[in-house]
Symmetry: D2
Subunit: 340 residues, 4 copies
């Protein structure tokens, strides 16, 4: 059960709702986000929600049977819009493009990519400053200095930046140089990190774990939301299966299913989802037809020389062709009224 | 290595090629199909293929590094067209629709479905007569009698029929009442059945095993091809993963990868691939954008009353809407020049 | 629900039970096996089983909630013993050893292996005559001729033989040269084959599918049982996972769980379960401690020269050492009263 | 390549080795641990290691082909012993028992469990203070206060304590109240946390990720080792598969394979590995036969009332029986000379 509260509700009024629910053996968690104030109730005993709804200070009450609550579409049927400012948004019905290099490599690289994005009408640039690498001996990214360069290049061109955060201490460090925090697949259930991201007033994109269920991804989002941050994006990026012909197995089933379960936008990362450059185009367009609200793409002026993930990275010609394809596919999706 | 032979090659000439290859420690298998005559060589030692190419009776020679040979695109770069007669074909560049009930239930059901297909311009009707069921106590289909009814209804309307074959003895039984034999996911490595299907002069569609690799699927196709039948179709139908939110996980990565590896047409079964009716539409259109040469769809006038698989079956209104969507998506795919 | 019937029950009496159950919307299947006569009821409506129990001709009645029925331990709490004659048995509390080559290669090979088994007190010899191979170009076994040689060698030394059957037509062919039919992992859901094996009066060992659930394995056994053959053995042989360090992932969880779910003996194939010769010993002994009623082992006088699967095959010294280890582990298992 | 250096090696001498390797295009990382000083070289060009070995300050040089280096058994063939003091050790040849509650619940619970362990001769107590939970609304543990109570109870009885660390800031907080840090399955690739644990002079146990490969687990250990801490333990705890009959699928193949690949001790967590109380005993003993150097077990005076994971937790009677079984199984393992 989710009880939305009036902003000016009095502590004694909250206490009253709490008491009523606890009488019925419900466990209650108070949630205060940047947008609202809620009581999240967990329980199974019968209770007439109208008895809660008429209490002073209550805006409305919804039953939510899912194990996750605040991210569930049972409660909030209208899809969430992530507003990045300057008219740049991620939301149902469109397909936001977030493109850029796997690793930030320096000023010049950032500039040529940013220029391409601007020329192609793409508004969000992705790039890794802190890289999670399986081996401690691999290149772990340029770090904060790289991010600062990247952000300056982006901001001077009106682009927004998304980049991965690996640990709690980086949240504050990165704050001034980022528009969306990305939580990678290996940190999909790093609950300490997710909890802290609840305190931040910038959007968070959470990737599904390598073998994470949709339920787990939604619970990870619930961690952030219930600690204060409602600006969340879910991301399918391929799961781990027995098949060895590709790096990961992109699971497009997840797209319409996540969108039905949650009001949060759902984006897809086809670059990691298949991991092979020449197949990124068809899988990206497939993701759009499956209903993706956005895509994350790895691009580079010279993929062969990229500091990481070159094998799944598009060059500029391929990128431009794909951006055009995405837009035309979104148009078809609208004509077919596939996504509300 | 694949050596294509002239149709009129003499036994002594074949012997000569054999000898040359065996001298170089290559193992040779003679293959005679309904379309051609080949020698398939397995080996690793160096040999100048021009020495083979100039021998009498040899049409051409190709190196094929893949473990599968005759189904490989390394050898045959032009895609295979499955010609069902009456102008009905399955091939790269288009998207053949194969639709119908999971189980054949009788004359009336067959008629209303056939009429829908005809009215919608769909040319291939699917329907199960012999049903593989996990439990011996479940409905196992109407059998041959059902197939006969189904085929009569289809033929009288100009439709082609695809239906699943479960065992060797059914190959002959079904022969007069079928246009495409379907090998189901549980028989994907039933090599005895595949071998026998090599003797038949009708196309065979092979579904990927529940946890079958692409390599295994291609080797299964190689079984049929090397025993004589070149008319083969590969089918992705969802794999088994840890995710419990859907029946199977549709693997659209498989589509472009299979098409690169093989010259055979690749079709997708989104009904089984996600197993939830309301998500069949977006996944089908995603499959088309991923490059599918065809789709298999479960439809029924009253899905709620279907003898099997009702939960993933579309009603007529949904079907008509989806057929239209498929065609418009294929058009976009052509405009974008995604598939040659 | 399972209703055990008296052997001399009259058709009218069966009809009466049927009617009573059908009145309560239960679906009834009559099962006649080589050992008994049963009615298997599927339904969910409430019915007092004592009303069935007192009907003439009824031996006893049990509720069985599992989806599989006759193989369930809910009904038959005493474990099934497979009696191969000459005092050779497979049953709970002991650990039958079934050892031999992956592929039968000829008289001499059969003799040296049989001699080893006899000298080591092992009573059951395994060996493949018909080999399911992923590629049509691989060695597919010596066929029936090989099996005849193998069986003669075994019988002359008092050994029993287990060998894989691939298709229905082989059931009769193999009948005189075999003591246990083995159904391989790729045929684990070949329902036509399973159905036909129900007619045979020799034991059948069914391997779990590569990605088969325990529930599916039990349903496959139910196919054989419900068509007449109660002499069944379940076999865990490793499942397919994302891990690439070994051929398969042996799932020893399956052993105690299958034994709780079913009255059938459960054996383990560690050779395929890990696929690496030097690890077969620890995994075999682990399987024994997990509760296995038997093990299937690949052994060969010269594993390096084996026609197939040499990489997971033990030589004679390793075999003798392992047979001894198995026996001592079974003794410890008895002392610890791990298995009833 | 791993170059072990003399403790008193001079910077100019290190520089010389570096230069030689870099001349051959090798990438070199300097590693200083609490026990030694190394150069880790990554490269593929040919180099005569004797040329490195004779340089001043070099103790010895080994080629290591594995992607992980310092944790590889290619370099260090003698198994690592984890010495916890007071004669309590974890090492090859024995099987250390680490038992205790899933969650620390308070003084009384800690005392009765500690008393049981002492009476049973078990020396290491496990218990969670910080609990990673899928849902933010679940009990997340008593935190540091719980750990202090737990540690006091343990220390007063001569027991060692292992407990899970979730984030970097907890490393220092927990330091005085812990003997082994546990990194859970969800943090198995939390490289920031692993890196920081390299600075600590207490052992670290790293659990395999839910779908982590053995290679990834070894690389995670390499993170800790290469940042200074050689006291590492690897833990198999069940992987995620398609099978729904149990919480996880315990992968005992991993035990001998990890032990061959690495010199680090390998322990098993059967409680999570199967997740069902009545099957923990056979799977634990199977793990011992597979070669485990230790086991992690969840026990509780009243499993039904445990704050978490009660379904997989043993009561005291079951625990005592299992501890005895483990010892007798280790004895058999020694007699059979399964583990060196």
């Amino acid at each position: 059960m989710i009880v939305s509260l009036q902003p000016d509700i009095q502590p004694t009024e909250i206490q009253k709702i709490n008491s009523l629910l606890m009488e019925h053996s419900w466990k209650v968690t108070e949630v205060l986000t940047q947008r609202g104030r809620y009581l999240v109730g967990l329980g199974s005993s019968e209770i007439d929600i109208r008895r809660v709804g008429i209490l002073p200070g209550v805006k409305d009450v919804h039953r939510v049977k899912d194990a996750y609550k605040l991210v569930s579409r049972e409660w909030k049927v209208h899809p969430t819009t992530i507003d990045l400012g300057s008219g740049i948004k991620i939301h149902e019905g469109e397909c936001a493009i977030m493109a850029g290099p796997c690793s930030i490599e320096g000023q010049e690289q950032a500039e040529v990519i940013a220029d391409l994005l601007v020329s192609q009408g793409v508004s969000i640039m992705r790039g890794g400053a802190f890289k999670p690498r399986s081996s401690p001996y691999s290149f772990r990214g340029m770090g904060l200095e790289g991010l600062k360069i990247f952000y300056d290049v982006a901001r001077s061109r009106g682009l927004k930046v998304i980049s991965e955060v690996l640990e709690i201490s980086q949240i504050e460090e990165m704050y001034d140089y980022i528009d969306i925090y990305q939580v990678g697949t290996r940190n999909s259930q790093n609950f300490s990190l997710l909890h802290e991201l609840g305190r931040v007033d910038k959007p968070v994109l959470i990737k599904r774990g390598m073998s994470g269920t949709l339920e787990e991804l939604l619970q990870s989002a619930e961690y952030v939301f219930s600690n204060g941050n409602e600006n969340l994006i879910l991301c399918e990026r391929g799961i781990r299966t027995f098949e060895k012909a590709y790096r990961n197995t992109l699971d497009l089933n997840a797209v319409p299913v996540l969108k039905e379960k949650s009001h949060l936008p759902v984006v897809v990362d086809p670059s990691h989802g298949i991991g092979v450059r020449r197949f990124v185009e068809p899988l990206t367009l497939a993701a759009v037809m499956a209903g993706a609200d956005g895509v994350l793409l790895e691009i580079h002026p010279k993929p062969e020389e990229a500091a990481s993930d070159g094998a799944q990275t598009l060059n500029f010609e391929e990128s431009a062709r794909l951006f055009d394809g995405i837009r035309r596919t979104v148009n078809l999706r609208k004509e077919l009224e596939l996504v509300a």
